[in-house]
Subunit: 152 residues, 2 copies
DNA sequence: TCTACATAGATGCAATTGCATTAACTTTGG
DNA sequence: CCAAAGTTAATGCAATTGCATCTATGTAGA
């Protein structure tokens, strides 16, 4: 009998804090971007992955794995990013179904501008609130909650 | 010069973990409810607040304060809950604009059923992953991130 | 009292999301 | 080589969300 149907008060509190705080912080960051006239966080996430991927770009399904967005969500997000000239879609040599998404110079510039605001939000909302050790501890503890228990 | 434009690597990592883990866990819980043929988490949040409030009920604006949902979101959610017979709307004696929302017996029952599933998710996803001390630590650290820095 | 302003809650409309399906390939197994 | 099954990405349509506004009521000050 290791399965508990009802969580401990400590677990409930940790859960509640996690849900509430993450939502609040996310909204604060989102708000800051909007106030600066920039695009939503989801755009940043994708541009960030693409920037890290470099010239080789990424396939949409790889973006799905990395960002955890839904397939249709990525499909539409990429359509908007392309319409805005932030990414380009290239055919894939050995797979006629697929495409490779590559960030454009314009996309990199947009990402840079977004980071100026987003990074400051992170610094203000998290960096300024906890010490380096505490940050490490939070990361480690949250890491143990990953579901399924894997990857970074 | 205490304002940092760029967050430390530790802050970035903690932020990323927080956003990713909270989303994953939320989705897992949401999925479990759906798989059990139950309503979404937002319904639970509201029913929970109303159940705690007791016979006196709560005004919609109080629900907004407690749940952090948007005004229009609460307005529509309550309309659906009422349509399902889970809550009832009562006029307020001394304020003709307002109403008091009270949970019904049916609503309490629905909340109970949802908790059976939701509680198990919390136990599995959080309670089973960290010790009591670690849970306390997570709650404390996350508590320091509340924004604005206040209330429980 | 009357006007100006504030607060409570609902809602029209456009944009976004989620679900289910589809179209266009690829791969596998006979 | 062919049929069946799998993968990749897009999309029609309904439901939900977000924004801005609106109605109704309450409050404060001239």
């Amino acid at each position: 009998m290791t399965k508990k149907a009802t969580p401990s008060p400590g677990a409930i509190k940790a859960w509640a804090r996690l849900m509430r705080v993450s939502r609040q912080l996310m909204e604060s960051a989102e708000e800051a971007l909007k106030a600066a006239g920039l695009s939503p966080l989801a755009w940043y996430d994708v541009l960030h992955e693409l920037a890290e991927a470099g010239e080789g770009g990424l396939r949409p399904f790889q973006l799905i794995e990395r960002t955890l967005f839904a397939q249709y969500s990525i499909s539409r997000l990429l359509a908007r990013l392309e319409a805005d000239g932030l990414v380009e879609k290239l055919p894939v040599a050995d797979d006629g179904r697929g495409q490779t998404i590559r960030i454009t110079a314009n996309g990199r510039e947009t990402r840079r501008k977004m980071w100026a605001v987003y990074g400051r939000s992170i610094a203000d909302l998290v960096g300024a609130k906890l010490s380096a050790d505490e940050l490490t501890m939070v990361s480690a503890l949250l890491g143990r909650l990953r579901h399924p228990p894997a990857s970074d």
